[in-house]
């Protein structure tokens, strides 16, 4: 087994089992780190907790809901507005956050009355919002507050409101992934099947594991609408509470982030016979094949092909312009979970970069199986890294750019490695044919930023050129290119600063005659 031991972690010998280097001839039967285990004491993990995984990752992107944490205000603050899961209702779920503000006296005397008061006050403060989710935290779980009973009382008192209770305190798993699991199953058990949706198409899907980061969901929804597919619900980005109660009526679950949402797909398959189709919304080939698969499933592949042809013709030349300029650039792909496998192969094939390392903060061994498979030889795969290991890896691997979250990202910047936000994006959306070019544009801007190069010079120590002044990204990226490449009329991404407002205004979708006229 090609385990990798970090110098900085020699004092934590258990850590050796959590990193591997993919050598020649290695495959998954010989090269896979441990994963989804409790963080080893002494290792300063970058993980979130199970409460964070339930609320911050999956619950909060629901847009028409009061999201209330039952616990100290700090828990709420740390799960508020740190991810850009926007919505088309003026971002209610991003603008407002709610907490019962539990203090020491409530730990002694109980916080159920406080919770009840907070629920009523929140509904009164936002009378147009009739749906709520409540999240357990460590403190209120330990004192045994019965949130479900309080929610039942309020729903009996106010029949027009509906409340979902999520019992996933921070200690409920090794990482945020424990919370993903809990909220998936809790939503299915409590809410799916409690509302009958209106069916308007012969082709009905749930779009699952999609969180509308900077508009990703809205980009994909555009493709589905152009194909005449009804998206019954999105779990959960830009999704509504009530649409997610009707998930049981879909014909197909289209699953994007298997790490956070495969559980609900698998249970919908077991309980309702709805099949699960895993897709990749990132990368032109993967996205094209994903649309084809959905089209094939419903017998409307021609509609998918028309979209692929149109979008590829528009965006592929610009993607290729970046690919020529990003050849061989070394990338550390260090996201939270699913993007390590969504992106690992696609960025190498379609942008020309080389992935020298993948890591996951909270992923399982299943995520690493996908990630290690999709990397090339020599890649360093790390599970649940600590900050010192990250620094050591950056010093030894010398990447040109790192894709990660903002906490390790800021550390990388201080080490003079350009960083792109893999969780919330820099200038997304990154999904879709256009989005993939936006991602390439952001990578290009990071790698060739003249400002970043200047920041790497220590003028008190290093020799530096005093006679060289103004440079641009283009001067840096095109220096070694052929004359033909330099003369290309393409100059990179030509889309809008933000493509989402136009999508929200769009109404000219094709109308397809239904085979089944009667509603199901």
């Amino acid at each position: 087994m090609p385990y990798h031991e970090f110098e900085v972690s020699k004092v934590i010998p258990e850590r050796k089992l959590h990193a591997v280097v993919k050598g020649p001839g290695e495959d998954l039967t010989s090269c896979l780190p441990k994963g989804y285990l409790n963080t080893i004491p002494g290792s300063i993990s970058e993980r979130g907790c199970a409460y964070c995984g339930a609320k911050h990752v999956i619950g909060t992107p629901m847009k028409d809901v009061i999201h209330l944490s039952h616990g100290p205000v700090g828990c709420t603050y740390d799960t508020w507005q740190t991810k850009r899961y926007i919505s088309d209702n003026n971002n209610f779920q991003l603008k407002y956050t709610f907490a019962s503000d539990v203090k020491e006296k409530h730990i002694v005397f109980g916080a159920e009355k406080l919770l009840r008061q907070n629920i009523l006050e929140a509904f009164d403060a936002f009378p147009e919002i009739k749906r709520m989710t409540i999240y357990q935290t460590c403190a209120t779980a330990l004192i045994g507050d019965d949130m479900a009973a309080i929610a039942e009382e309020v729903m009996a008192e106010r029949p027009d409101v509906d409340i979902f209770v999520c019992n996933s305190p921070g200690f409920g798993g090794p990482s945020q992934s424990g919370g993903h699991h809990k909220i998936n199953i809790a939503w299915l058990n409590q809410k799916v099947g409690t509302l009958e949706p209106e069916i308007t198409s012969d082709y009905v899907i749930n779009y699952v594991g999609e969180y509308n980061i900077q508009g990703d969901q809205e980009v994909m929804l555009d493709y589905f609408k152009r194909m005449g597919i009804q998206v019954l619900s999105t779990f959960t980005g830009n999704g509504t509470y009530d649409s997610l109660r009707g998930m049981h009526r879909a014909h197909l679950n289209v699953l994007e982030c298997a790490r956070s949402a495969e559980y609900i797909c698998d249970e919908l398959r077991a309980r309702y016979g709805i099949p699960r189709l895993d897709i990749d919304g990132f990368g032109h080939k993967a996205l094209g094949d994903s649309l084809r698969k959905i089209g094939l499933f419903f017998g409307i592949e021609d509609r998918a092909e028309a979209i692929i042809a149109e979008e590829t013709a528009r965006w592929k030349p610009e993607l290729d312009w970046y690919k020529e300029r990003l050849q061989g650039k070394r990338v550390c792909l260090w996201p939270g979970g699913s993007k390590l496998w969504h992106w690992a192969h696609a960025i190498q094939e379609e942008m020309g970069v080389k992935v020298v390392s993948v890591y996951t903060k909270f992923g399982h061994q299943g995520d690493m199986e996908k990630g290690v498979s999709r990397c090339g030889e020599g890649a360093l795969a790390i599970d649940d890294p600590n900050e010192l290991e990250g620094q050591e890896a950056l010093r030894t691997l010398k990447p040109d750019v790192i894709f990660t979250g903002k906490r390790p990202g800021e550390v990388a910047k201080k080490m003079r490695v350009p960083y792109l936000n893999a969780h919330a994006y820099h200038n997304g959306p990154y999904k879709g044919f256009e989005g993939w070019v936006r991602f390439a544009r952001d990578i290009y801007n990071a790698v060739y930023s003249p400002m970043h190069r200047l920041s790497a010079i220590d003028i008190s120590k290093d020799d530096y050129e005093t006679g060289k002044g103004f440079v641009t990204r283009r001067m840096l990226s095109d220096a070694d290119l052929s004359e033909d490449a330099k003369a290309s009329p393409i100059t990179g991404y030509t889309g809008k600063f933000d493509p989402i407002p136009d999508l929200r205004k769009k109404t000219d979708y094709p109308v397809f005659a239904r085979r089944v006229a009667a509603a199901e």
Partner: protein, 141 residues
């Protein structure tokens, strides 16, 4: 409310089919051909990585079985929505195999069946029987 069915606990105790790499003694030419197909799957597909071993067994058998039938030109029977999902992935796989591996076009039905059987064995080995993933036998999803 959602239907709750009794959990099939026995499914987590699925039998092992292979105790070593089933292709270890294969001739170099066939090995290379299987590797080419395997590499495409491992780099581009997700269906072989469902989270539990029993589920992977079904996925691999369903999709690779139908892919073999499509490559050979046989009719594929689709009786459930889940079969249809297998078929969808099989169609894409067969198309991509054919586009990338010209040598498949020169093979007869028996040769195709043989190489797809070996590929199936290899994928089962990588993702199930030889896998180091310790969560494959967890009873819950």
């Amino acid at each position: 409310m959602a239907k709750k069915e009794k959990k099939d606990i026995a499914r987590a105790n699925y039998p092992k089919l292979y105790t070593s790499d089933p292709l270890a003694d294969l001739d170099a030419d066939t090995r290379e051909k299987v590797s080419e197909l395997e590499n495409y799957i491992m780099k581009n597909c997700l269906w072989q990585f469902n989270s539990r071993g029993w589920d992977r067994r079904k996925q691999n058998a369903g999709i690779l079985g139908m892919t073999a039938q499509l490559l050979i030109g046989e009719d594929v029977e689709i009786s459930t929505a889940i079969d249809k999902c297998y078929w969808v992935d099989a169609v894409l796989l067969a198309r991509n195999f054919t586009a990338r591996c010209a040598w498949l076009g020169g093979m007869g039905a028996e040769e195709l069946r043989t190489i797809m059987t070996k590929l199936h064995a290899r994928i089962d080995w990588l993702t199930i029987d030889g896998s180091l993933n310790e969560e494959l036998t967890v009873q819950n999803y």
